[in-house]
Amino acid sequence: MKLIMAIVKPFKLDDVREALVAAGVEGLTVSEVKGYGRQKGQTEIYRGAEYQVNFLPKVKLEAVVDDAVAPKAVEAIRAAAATGKIGDGKIFVLDVLDAVRIRTGETGAAAI
């Protein structure tokens, strides 16, 4: 099993979700986060005051998938979230040791 963690632009969330469903990913956890990478921040001006905003709003997705599905899921996210401009985000893939479905007690691949 793999944990796929992706940081994407907030307005791309819906596209990414649809792509993941199409790729056979059945569950998804999303959180609103702030951060920066190569894009750095942006400038905001309020009347006379100019501020450099370092942390930009992004969306973080987490999905645990079967080893076999992982490459398809990664590619689905990448294709859906890409705009070609700096700040599109990143995808990380991590090994998962185990999973438990709380309702039934099932473990491993059966739990996801």
Binding site: I45, Y46, R47, G48, Y51, V53
Partner: protein, 514 residues
């Protein structure tokens, strides 16, 4: 001073009590009150109080028939009552939200709370002593400030009336009192924009009581106190009794000097005496909700029709002129602020629009019933770029922390408007002209009076003198008040409180829960 105030106030309270019972117990009232009341009230309100309720004395029926005293028109009265609550809408929630949106989240409630507190205290003070100090005969000090004739609203009854701007037209004094009360409240509340996010609540409370006494009531008296059209028409060759700035010939329709220059200068003085917020110019302090700021700006605009068109005191064509100008100047200023930022900063910001709207409202305040609509449009276009310079270039260069630009918008916008009023009133520029009240017959409507000879230079100089006196008076009075607070209860919260936010430390609440 305090002792004297107290004894006078007690006397006023007793008398007010007698008068409240009066109309119900008519004969007693008719015998006891009128002579004394008439003697007490020499020539108050914007024009003199038109005799203390002779109608109530009717049972006596021995007085020789004089010209019947004018009675208020129901349309005028209705308009003043509506205007009054419109001005309240400007303060709570209008100004509170406009300012509240501009502070950081941790200080949102402190802003709402400070505006509300200054308002409720201002209302109480107004009926106790404020109205009397602003709008009665000040005796030897009449050029500067009113007297004690209306302490505790002594002698005011539902039947007492005050003059308007037309001969033979009066409105109920209580309507005038309520209307002017809201002006006193909003002026003090505007000052809070300069000292936001760092002033102690106890200091705000002290400010709410002291500042109007030293600054607002005297300036209102200097600018708006005069004998009234009936008194002038009745004795055209006599010198006109008036406050100092009115006496210069300076015109101020709804308070460019009294309200906006006064509040703006006080805000700057306050900002300088308090010092900058912790982290000012080193850490970001972006507004926490520009959404609420526009909600507030919109409510300010709506309420401002009561403020400006209500200042006409009558529901007539001049009120309509003030209303049109309050639309047009505001629209033009919102547009020109946006344009200025779009050109200089490459972005047309919403905050720029909201700021421009307020700058336009400020600038048109003194000109509302005097300028023509096209004059108001030009005024609106001009005022915003000037305010932009003060809110960015000048403020950044001099490094003072006028936190929400109360000086940059109200002070500067007020100065621009007050001076421009002297130009835009010119009949040749579509303005309403200046009425020569000495030629007014006793049959109402100022449009039938002669226009005074208008000379632009003379009028602009009169306006400049008014502006200058307002600036100096406000600066000195405000400095006294802020230092007085500084050396007694203290002005600023401590550094930890400032860091933590005033909401949780001073008020024990948070604005938002998530």
């Amino acid at each position: 001073m305090t002792m004297k105030l107290a004894t006078q106030a007690l006397a006023g309270l007793a008398l007010a009590g007698a008068l409240i019972g009066g109309p119900l117990a008519a004969p007693a009232f008719a015998q006891e009150a009128p002579a004394q009341a008439a003697a007490d009230v020499a020539a108050p309100a914007p024009g003199g109080v038109a005799a203390a309720a002779p109608a109530e004395a009717a049972p006596a029926a021995t007085a020789p028939a004089e010209a019947p005293a004018p009675t208020p028109d129901k349309g005028d009265t209705t308009w003043m009552l509506i205007s009054t609550v419109l001005v309240l809408l400007m303060i709570v929630p209008g100004l509170a939200l406009f300012y509240g949106g501009l502070v950081r989240q941790k200080n949102m409630l402190s802003m709402l709370m400070q505006v509300s507190t200054v308002t409720v205290v201002g209302m109480m003070a107004w009926v106790l002593w404020g109205y009397s100090l602003a709008f009665t005969d000040g005796g030897g000090l009449d050029k500067i400030v009113g007297g004690f004739g209306r302490l505790f609203l002594r002698d005011v009854t539902p039947a007492s009336n005050v003059a308007t701007f037309s001969t033979g037209v009066v409105i109920p004094e209580l309507a005038f009192i309520a209307f002017q009360m809201t002006f006193a409240c909003i002026t003090a509340a505007l000052v809070l924009g300069g000292v936001a996010e760092r002033m102690k609540f106890a200091a705000v409370l002290m400010f709410a009581i002291l500042w109007p006494i030293l600054s607002y009531y005297p300036l209102a008296h200097m600018v708006w106190w005069w004998a009234g059209p009936d008194a002038v028409a009745a004795a055209p060759s006599d010198p006109i009794q008036s406050g100092l700035i009115w006496g210069f010939g300076a015109i101020d329709f709804a308070g460019g000097t009294v309200v906006h220059i006064n509040a703006g200068v006080a805000a700057l003085v306050g900002a300088l005496i308090l010092g900058a917020r912790k982290g000012y110019r080193s850490e970001p302090m972006p507004p926490h909700s520009l959404t609420l700021t526009l909600v507030g700006a919109g409510l300010l605009w709506v309420g401002w029709f009561g403020f400006n068109a209500g200042s006409n005191l009558e529901a007539n064509g001049y009120a309509a002129l003030a209303m049109v100008n309050t639309f047009i100047a505001t629209a033009a200023a919102g547009f020109s602020w946006t344009l200025t930022e779009w050109i200089t900063r490459k972005k047309a910001s919403m905050l720029g629009m909201a700021s421009g709207l307020v700058a336009g409202l400020v600038a048109v305040t003194p000109a509302a019933g005097f300028a023509g609509p096209v004059g108001a449009l030009v005024l609106g276009l001009i005022v915003s770029p000037i305010c932009v310079v003060f809110c960015s270039a000048v403020k950044n260069a001099l490094k003072y922390d006028d936190s929400l630009d109360a000086f940059g918008i109200h002070g500067i916008g007020g100065i621009v408007g007050a001076i421009a009023t002297g130009i835009l009133v010119a009949p040749a520029l579509g303005g309403a002209g200046i009425v020569d009240y000495t030629t007014c017959a006793a049959d109402g409507d100022i449009s039938t009076c002669d226009a005074a000879t208008y000379a632009m230079a003379t009028q602009v100089i009169a306006q400049l003198k008014g502006v200058l006196v307002s600036i100096v008076w406000s600066a000195v009075a405000s400095a006294i008040v802020f230092f007085l607070i500084k050396f007694t209860v203290g002005l600023r919260v401590n550094e930890d409180t400032e860091e933590e936010g005033l909401d949780i430390v001073e008020h024990g609440e948070r604005a938002y829960h998530s």
